[in-house]
Symmetry: C2
Subunit: 554 residues, 2 copies
Amino acid sequence: MAREALVYLPLGGAGEVGMNMYLYGYGPKGKERFIMIDMGVTFPDMDSSPGVDLIFPDIEWIAERADQLDAIFITHAHEDHIGAIAHLYPRLKAPIYARKFTAHIGRLKMEEHGYDGEEITTVAAMPEQIEAGPFKVGFMPLSHSIPESSALIIDTPAGRIVHSGDFKLDETPVLGEPFDRAAWSKLGPVKALVCDSTNVFSPHAGRSEITVGPAIEKIVAEAEGMVVATTFASNIARVKTLAEAGQAAGRSIVLMGRAMRRMIEAGVETGVIGDFPKVVSPEDAKDVPRGNLMLLATGSQGERRAASAQLSRGKYQGLTLKEGDLFLFSSKTIPGNEVSVGRVVNALSEMGVDVIDDRMADIHVSGHANRPDLEEMHALVKPQILVPMHGEHRMLREHAKLGEAGGIASVIAPNGTMVALQGNRPEVVEFVETGRLYLDGSVQVGALDGIVRDRIRMALNGTVVIGILIDEEDEPLLDAWCELKGLPEIGRSKAPLAEILEEDVGQFLGRADGRTIMNDDKLEEAVRRIVRQASVKEIGKKPEVIVLISRLAA
Amino acid sequence: MAREALVYLPLGGAGEVGMNMYLYGYGPKGKERFIMIDMGVTFPDMDSSPGVDLIFPDIEWIAERADQLDAIFITHAHEDHIGAIAHLYPRLKAPIYARKFTAHIGRLKMEEHGYDGEEITTVAAMPEQIEAGPFKVGFMPLSHSIPESSALIIDTPAGRIVHSGDFKLDETPVLGEPFDRAAWSKLGPVKALVCDSTNVFSPHAGRSEITVGPAIEKIVAEAEGMVVATTFASNIARVKTLAEAGQAAGRSIVLMGRAMRRMIEAGVETGVIGDFPKVVSPEDAKDVPRGNLMLLATGSQGERRAASAQLSRGKYQGLTLKEGDLFLFSSKTIPGNEVSVGRVVNALSEMGVDVIDDRMADIHVSGHANRPDLEEMHALVKPQILVPMHGEHRMLREHAKLGEAGGIASVIAPNGTMVALQGNRPEVVEFVETGRLYLDGSVQVGALDGIVRDRIRMALNGTVVIGILIDEEDEPLLDAWCELKGLPEIGRSKAPLAEILEEDVGQFLGRADGRTIMNDDKLEEAVRRIVRQASVKEIGKKPEVIVLISRLAA
């Protein structure tokens, strides 16, 4: 192996959808210079991370080497690529580069957290390139479901890397640059293509953003009551298509939800959006006949606090839905969100509101490259090496198979896998410890710190608190005191569970030997065991037990 | 309205998928005689019912009228139709009727809970009919993804009702009676069709169970390593098809998971299964070359403890998967289970095991009637009234629209809606309070009792326990004592959170007036407020607070 290695190391996004963060390094081992691509978040769920606000990649490895990090590049402004920027920046403090729209969103995030937005430098698309240590990096436009998504062309002393970011091949993307097949075919020679894998299991070529227009226009034109449409607010091309369909049908447009207003403002301010139909405020909308209104609402994934869910539960910003209104999901339901989206749809059904989603009409297209699109990308770029990124393990594996089938040396490299790219074939050289950080309220905690594990246990098992008072002579004083939380009050013997537990603990304290009473750990363990035994008998559950021991000073 | 009313009242299953329970009543108001159809469960989830074991319909309304209940009929042995039988039977004690296979499963459940299995009477298919008060009820065979599923033909003084149960139209169902179009067309005149709605949004006619055989046979024949297939254990036709594909490829069959063995045994004992290929035990399978093995495993929904998930995590009953093995999901993922199924698939991917699911090959068909099948059912039965049942609200609503479009008077009747059927059109006559019961350990608790709400709060917010000791003169004795569970130990000020809270509570106790100290409720409320304020400042969260106040007797 050459003394100077070119390495790829995913810290997040490889082995999952979300939380993208990739490192490239060049140099002799231990003295590499690094660049980072993307700083994404992923979202918590009740099953595995209850109460958590956001999830980041654990950046310990690169934070320890922050002086070797020359720059951070953000491919686009989706939360799973930019969401961690203000949370993790203080530990890295490298200059950040992004295109105009992405930089605008990034600056808002930095400023919200009290950092200087000017840490982010706006970069034009290729041919402009940023020098960062041994790397030269340029933004090569590609379409995606947000403006100005870009691949990164990373020139290194060991050759050119193409890091795709999230992308699709779209020659008519409504907003932004059409896919430039000719330019893409002239990038070579390319050492390695590091490529989005999320849609590798979608067998048909992706459809262009422009194809959703006619179906949406027709549906909106035929509607009689109020029309509400939801999509991701950051999909500004889609929001524009929806708004224009409303305008064409003589409807006033109302933006519902903070993210919807913020994204459209960002689009207008940065100039990516061009014309956008006039909007009226929810306040003014009350004076417009409902057949002349079109609401564009956040919450396509059924998020409880977003505009769509609030509308489905009743009034939102003074507006209510009624029988005969129409609700469009111009979106797809992300796996895991079926139940929350279903809740919104059923609530709408109870109101008599008709719902049309992407399975009923062609009102949505994906922002990611499907299997044939990936094959086309491989063929255009002709890389020596393929590294599938961004996707669950099964997607990385399938994408690597696709690469190998096309004669490209491919490697499956989930988070923490350091791959050397300077040779003719990718070579796994090291496994780095990676993981997840939780933003919990205002504190960052490790996913394995046990905090969330304890919460899950309390949710599954309920909690018993036992208070014990020991006097100066190491004798129990007062009866033990019990509180229940998240447990039935009455069990098998029809007496209050708290009283039974107090009684059992009291009896134990009466017969316990001095060594147990004197030792907090032993006493706690013994009380816990008694409470759990009695609870299993009474209610068939083993609760979490918190023992509070107070001792009067001797 | 006639003095004698014929009413339909869903207690579960109408407005949801799962937890089926329907009442029919006949007679003068207040003195109706009732029959119950199905006693199903639904399954808890971490989002809304953490720690809960099973969910039943709240049967309070009919339990208060248990002496008016003449019989219970079970359409088929899926958990969402039979799962609550042994849990709710003691409150109803009406005779239970089912066909042979269903009765067999029901008896196992009754006996497991210490009841007499003979409370369940086995009934043959039509023309046999059971008299139950003013009702005569017969089992009319229909196909579904379990043996002997049946519609109920319910003859009443006000006319004939057809209660479909879960069904599909299948003339080649592998097991059980082929769909008998001629017999179904001769049921009339039918007053009301009460009909399964789960697949009303599936636009194409359903495929027969027999159509999955060739694809499965081909895949298994071409496989080289070990083959594992998962499906619902109760889908005995499918299990048989899978086993026969294995046998045809010269493979020994191994049943993995308790439900898989139990269902096949039930199928053999009741004679519904006919021939089944020889099986070998997991123990003996270790001596068989892996290319000659086919495992049939429980856990198609990614259930953590089922055989499939255990295999994906490593060894199960002495067998392990390896690179080059093949795993078939001959099933569909139920909405809400995408993440758990994904976890299994990704773990298999990490092992190098190839996965084929129903989106990649035609190895699964649904057990429910799709939209065109429902239309065919309407046309065959020609009911005067259509009552869509079993389905989320949006499905009931869509099915009612379909009925109306076909000229049938239709009604949307979610749980608790009592509908009179004796007239020419359905008429909603009453809303009855319904809800859910949770089986939690060994105790049945109401869904709205607050127990599960408290668990969810502990999971989201973490818990702080504060112990306070008040002496005989109503003065605080000792310092306040604090324990945290599910919360970070260190917050903004870098000091232990527990110490900060103890300090703040101690300061408050020092300055609190006697009236607060003397009153448990006031003291608790004041301490809770202090703890939450300090926590928000330190960690940005408002925890649940449990205050344990002990008082030395005056």
